[in-house]
């Protein structure tokens, strides 16, 4: 069974306590965006065989959404972090790189601008999480 630690309440939650929410760090496209952007946001998914960033909700716990970095083949969990993060935090990037030297991040897709964190550049710092109780 998958066990993810909720970054808000700190509980090591079992899969049955959690609700999966699909790919994380999607850019939300709204009215005024191109059809292609809108389609990508709503339907197209990276669905990687390997490192995956995803949304989870601590449904039968504190109820909050958070993000997790996980391998979809081995189910190894690299870490969890607050839902308000624009990028995965440095520790998680380091944990992934340590185990998956060939892994290539895709921040360019997340931000839409030139690719920070690609290759050997350090990943940018995550935006500080907003007060989670606000």
């Amino acid at each position: 069974m998958l066990i993810l630690t909720c970054p808000y309440c700190g509980v090591a939650a079992e899969e049955t306590e959690l609700h999966p929410g699909g790919e994380a760090h999607l850019t939300r496209h709204g009215p005024g965006s191109t059809d292609a952007d809108f389609e990508w946001y709503l339907f197209a998914r990276r669905n990687p065989k390997g490192v995956h960033f995803e949304r989870w909700r601590h449904l039968y716990g504190c109820g909050k959404w958070f993000l997790a970095a996980r391998d979809t083949v081995t189910l190894q969990v690299f870490g969890t972090y607050p839902a308000q993060s624009k990028y995965p935090p440095r520790e998680i990037i380091a944990a992934i790189r340590a185990d998956r030297p060939d892994w290539v991040p895709h921040w360019d897709e997340i931000t839409g601008d030139s690719a920070p964190g690609v290759g050997n550049d350090p990943a940018p710092n995550p935006t500080p999480a907003r007060d989670s109780f606000a």
Partner: protein, 426 residues
């Protein structure tokens, strides 16, 4: 330089009662391999990636309906070792939407004569299928489906609890948690032997001179000027004019090699079987509310399909809590299951689209076609899907069966929404 294409058809050896008699006389020493485990050549007109049911059926109908036999089917593992050999073999065509009814019913009709057509016993068993309604929502949903099916010319009917009980005496219809409120009954539905479907198509393809190449993983797609040129595989480079990607749970991975993205997520779906017992249930029962799908195999095992994991997953394993969930819910309706030992449990990786309908489509890359998104319910669709896919690949444009299943439907908002009808039903 790739070797020139020289397809060589194998002389068909028909299976018949006479063949059995002949072999019985010589102690069964004369049976041959049903299909040739081919070495790949350097070039084919059409390369199909994935020797699951859908890939093999695509190849078969390319040969049969369009005379295209310069075809290779490349398989990274062994023939039918993907979802084809892992599913619970439920066959039905009682879908809600018209495009679904058309392709699934075509498929069911092809299944009805497949053993004769392939000269290979796929053990198609139209024993009847009931989708149980265990909530008010399902009662309304299935009554609506019965009417839709009537308009589509697909024979199904709504049956009351007493008739459900008559058809399935081992069932407890009184609840208390999920009483049986009736069911959608399709008498033509049933099961088939999953491996035999793959083997039968493989044999027919092999006899037409096609190459089925196992242990041959596609690792790259070579594209020049927006058109496919070749695939790079673990057994070398193979050139082709056209490429059909038919890899179920690995669709996103192969699409990425070809440089496009699909509206697909891969998740684990699992099943389990009990020890064999005497015949006790001669229909297929689907309990969608509790995600339990039940039939009895010819060997006597109770075959139980469960729900999906909710998250992206390539492990082909499944998880214990889903086994528990499925069995716990099923034993209310089938109390005798609680006395059975379970023998095996396994998982497969299913390819889920947003509207729970498949994709049969041209792609942004010239000469590349994709057939995927059958999710939890594509075994029943193998013949119909292969039929429609062959037409798409041969003509470069979809025929009537595939027309609505193009991948542009997501951008255009033309969903074929089967998820409202039946959740993750098989």
């Amino acid at each position: 330089m790739p070797e020139p294409s020289t397809p060589t058809a194998r002389k068909p050896r028909r299976y018949s009662v006479f063949a059995i008699a002949r072999e019985a006389m010589r102690l069964h020493s004369g049976w041959e391999r049903a299909w040739a485990d081919a070495q790949p050549r350097g070039r084919y007109k059409v390369v199909v990636i994935g020797a699951g049911g859908h890939g093999l059926a695509t190849a078969y109908y390319l040969g049969k309906n369009f005379g295209i036999t310069d075809v290779a089917v490349l398989e990274k593992g062994w023939l039918g070792g993907g979802n084809t050999g892992r599913n619970t073999t439920i066959i039905r065509s009682n879908y809600l939407q018209d495009p679904s009814a058309a392709i699934y019913d075509k498929s069911l009709k092809l299944y009805e004569t497949l053993s004769q057509e392939l000269n290979y016993n796929v053990m198609f068993s139209p024993r009847g299928l009931i989708m149980l309604a265990q909530t008010e929502h399902e009662v309304r949903g299935y009554k609506r489906t019965a009417i839709a099916n009537h308009l589509q010319g697909v024979a199904t009917r709504w049956i009351e609890p007493a008739e459900v009980k008559r058809l399935v005496p081992i069932m407890n219809i009184d609840g208390p948690r999920y009483p049986v409120l009736g069911g959608l009954y399709q008498e033509r539905g049933g099961t088939a032997r999953h491996d035999a479907v793959a083997w039968g198509y493989a044999r027919a393809c092999s006899q037409m001179g096609m190459d089925i190449v196992q242990n041959c993983e596609v690792a790259g797609v070579d594209i020049a000027g927006g058109r496919v040129r070749a695939v790079e595989t673990t057994r070398g480079r193979i050139e082709c004019d056209k490429l059909a990607i038919v890899v179920a749970g690995h669709s996103s991975v192969v699409a990425e090699m070809a440089g496009f993205r699909l509206p697909i997520e891969s998740i684990a779906l699992q099943a389990l079987v009990s020890e064999p017992i005497k015949p006790c249930m001669d229909v297929v029962v689907m309990a969608n509310t509790v995600h339990g799908y039940l039939s009895q195999s010819d060997k006597g095992e109770m075959v139980i399909g469960g729900g999906t994991d909710g998250f992206n997953n390539y492990t082909q394993r499944g998880s214990w809590q889903h086994v528990e969930e499925t069995v716990r819910a099923l034993i209310e309706t089938f109390p005798m299951l609680s006395r059975l030992k379970m023998l095996r449990q396994w998982g497969g990786i299913v390819d889920m689209t947003g509207d729970r309908s498949p994709i049969l489509s041209a792609t942004p890359v010239g000469g590349v076609f994709v057939n995927c998104g059958w999710g939890t319910g594509g075994f029943k669709a193998i013949p119909g899907s292969g039929w429609a896919m062959a037409e798409l690949v041969a003509k470069g444009a979809p025929g009537p069966l595939a027309a609505d299943f193009g991948m542009s439907r997501f951008a255009e908002g033309r969903f074929i929404d089967e998820s409202v009808a039946a959740g993750v039903a098989h």
